[in-house]
């Protein structure tokens, strides 16, 4: 029974979603909770069971077919992300919980997305991966456009077409790999690559195209335009889900595919360092300029994605990147949940029109401050641990170190700007009565502290990494943080607050759809050119 858990992770949410959609009862939300409990229990039992085999990974073939079947693989990377997914879905379901009114249609898409995303994290078959990526794109589009407002629908179309173009690019890579190796099983391909001559053109082209497709899904530098659009207009719970997790789907594939291509030894690490740096810098720059609270948080996601990519390519293993994936999912979820409550209470997304939050909503303010401390990397919070791991790896290269420091200053400036909503006189607001929404905020805040303080033992047990090199209880850690925030404050005070012409122009900056695709084609061309030059 237990060995069938991987397929049950996919089937239980999907089947529950269909039942919810068909019954449309008042009890839909309880049904969703019930499915969620089953999946959680199953995940705990299964992962405790297979924990000794985490290094090589446990492979499950759907329908008991042997190598020709669809394999689902669970190793430590998938296990961490599957657990994180289940946790984030718990938070979203609790956040969306209303005792009196159920939304069966919304729950249908939400749970369907959970099943599909758990499939994406486990599958070890390239075509299956394509199917799950495309399904994720379609369902996310529907969730983004769910409010049926003009702005959300246009963001949905933009997201759908740009991501489909990316995923199709990925599919060409799959076709080329099938043409070379005669299989689409990732492990078989990895084995086949070991006997390959270095600089194999078709495999190189496949690598380039797959990386380009994944870059769109992970919103890397030239092809990020869909992210602030989609995350800025979706419902807050959906934004938390998208920024916290769905973007990480692309990063997960980045780790997985680089693992698959590792025997072929394509040296793209420097290239992706600069792509990550450009992503992080653009994210910080635009986040500082925004007035819309959700667009600001969306651009900040871009910054963190860039940092994750920098962490992945600068270290020999994926420890720092994976830690930051988990930590970012926590604090960005927290910030989006809090932003959702603030927007519903103040009925505006413009942060210049919100003030006196500390007086009108003290509890939400405290949780929001915790989230902001975590994302800017304050000591004792989880954000510090992963950011310190990333910056420590760059310590030998001063240029790169200060570039990342610049990113942190930009990020600090954006959050100094956001923190201005806490002060000032109390503006007109509506009462907030939904106490269920406070629960996820409290749980995630606690998690931020726990991951920040007990990082050594948690890193050992959950991730299997040794993170004892990072010590948050030092004077240097605190001093660096204070210097970063001070620079951020200066940047905010002198450049952004006066709201000059340049700031306003940058705020209105958008990438049109054809330009986004043009950039995508250029990005693919640069990747290909880089491969040919190597």
């Amino acid at each position: 029974m237990m060995e069938h858990a991987p397929i049950l992770f996919i089937l239980i949410p999907v089947i529950t979603a269909i039942i919810i959609y068909v019954l449309r009862s008042r009890w839909s939300h309880y049904l969703a909770f019930f499915a969620q409990i089953i999946v959680t229990v199953l995940a705990v039992i299964y992962y405790v069971d297979i924990a000794p085999h985490f290094v090589s990974g446990v492979i499950y073939f759907i329908g008991d077919w042997d190598v020709i079947g669809i394999p689902l693989m669970n190793d430590r990377l998938s296990a961490v992300l599957v657990s994180l997914t289940i946790f984030v879905w718990w938070m979203v379901l609790i956040y969306k919980f209303r005792p009196k009114e159920a939304e069966p249609t919304f729950l249908f898409f939400l749970l369907f997305l959970e099943g599909v995303f758990l499939g994406l994290l486990q599958t070890s078959d390239l075509f299956n991966l394509f199917v799950f990526m495309e399904l994720t794109t379609i369902i996310v589009t529907i969730l983004v456009a769910f409010k049926k407002m003009g702005s959300s629908i246009r963001a949905g179309v933009y997201y759908l077409l740009l991501n489909t173009a990316g995923v199709l690019m990925f599919l060409i890579g799959v076709v080329l790999l099938y043409y070379t190796f005669g299989t689409i099983n990732m492990l078989e391909i990895r084995n086949g690559m070991e006997g390959l001559a270095p600089g194999h053109t078709v495999v190189g082209l496949a690598y380039v195209l797959m990386m380009a497709g994944i870059s769109v899904k992970a919103a890397l530098f030239p092809v990020f335009a869909w992210l602030p659009r989609a995350h800025g207009v979706a419902q807050s719970a959906v934004s938390a889900l998208l920024s916290g997790l769905i973007v990480k789907g692309g990063i997960y594939l980045f780790i997985r595919l680089n693992g698959m291509f590792s025997p072929a030894d394509f040296d793209y690490m420097d290239f992706f360092f600069f792509v990550g740096l450009a992503t992080a810098l653009t994210g910080s720059l635009f986040a500082m300029m925004q007035k819309n609270i959700k667009v600001l948080l969306a651009y900040s996601t871009l910054t963190q994605v860039g940092l994750i990519i920098i962490g992945l390519v600068s270290l020999d293993d994926y420890s720092a990147g994976l830690l930051h994936v988990v930590h970012h999912a926590l604090f960005k979820g927290l910030l989006f949940f809090a932003a959702g409550i603030i927007v519903s209470v103040y009925r505006t997304k413009d942060i210049t029109k919100i003030s006196g939050l500390m007086r009108s909503m003290p509890i939400v303010s405290i949780f929001m401050i915790i989230g902001m401390l975590a994302i800017t990397g304050a000591p004792f919070m989880n954000g510090y641990i992963s950011k310190a791991l990333i910056t420590d790896a760059l310590y030998d290269d001063p240029l790169r170190y200060y570039a990342v420091f610049l990113v942190n200053i930009g990020s600090a400036a954006a959050f100094v700007k956001l923190s201005m909503i806490f002060f000032g006189p109390k503006t007109l607001s509506y009462p907030h009565k939904n106490y269920a929404q406070i629960v996820p905020l409290a749980v995630i805040s606690l998690a931020c502290f726990v991951f920040g303080i007990f990082h050594e033992s948690l890193g050992e047990i959950l991730f299997g990494f040794d993170v004892s090199a990072v010590d948050p209880f030092t004077f240097t850690a605190l001093a660096t943080y204070i210097v970063t925030i001070a620079f951020g404050f200066l940047l905010y005070h002198h450049l952004i607050r006066p709201d000059r012409k340049g700031v306003r122009r940058l705020r209105r900056f958008t990438v049109t759809f054809e330009t986004a695709n043009y950039l995508f084609v250029i990005y693919v061309a640069v990747l290909t050119g880089f491969f040919l030059l190597l």
Binding site: F127, F130, V131, E134, L135, T137, I138, T141, I142, A145, K148, M149, G150, S151, I153, R154, G156, V157, Y158, L160, L161, T164, A165, L168, L171, I172, V175, Y178, Y179, I184, T510, T512, F513, E514, N517, Y518, F520, V521
Partner: protein, 111 residues
């Protein structure tokens, strides 16, 4: 059909995506890219004189069945994407009165 020709179909699709200013045309371009990929994949498993991959006991010279099985799925997904994006286009036209990217993206938020 030559694999190079199918690549050209894919490139035409990307050229269209990078230049067309109309949402409907963008949707068509995605469909064109997809058709190109389907043709490319079917090509790789095909050869002159290959039979259909249904075996009646005796092993004949048959074409590779895997690309055909996979491409059926791709066609299904492609039709879903097309249907969804065309539906969203209709909604956009009702709200903005236009299906040009530039006009829709530049407009302020409307309910």
């Amino acid at each position: 059909m030559n694999p190079i020709l199918t690549f050209i179909v894919v490139l035409i699709g990307f050229y269209g995506l990078a230049t067309s200013k109309n949402i409907i045309k963008s949707v068509f371009c995605v469909t064109i890219i997809e058709s190109g990929i389907i043709l490319l994949f079917l090509n790789l498993g095909n050869f002159q004189g290959g039979g259909i991959p249904i075996l009646n006991g005796e092993a004949d010279a048959i074409v590779d069945p895997l690309p055909q099985a996979l491409m059926i799925t791709t066609i299904v997904i492609g039709s879903t994407v097309t249907a969804l994006s065309l539906m969203l286009c209709i909604k956009l036209f009702h709200r903005y009165g236009s299906i040009e990217w530039a006009q829709i993206l530049r407009r302020e938020d409307v309910e």
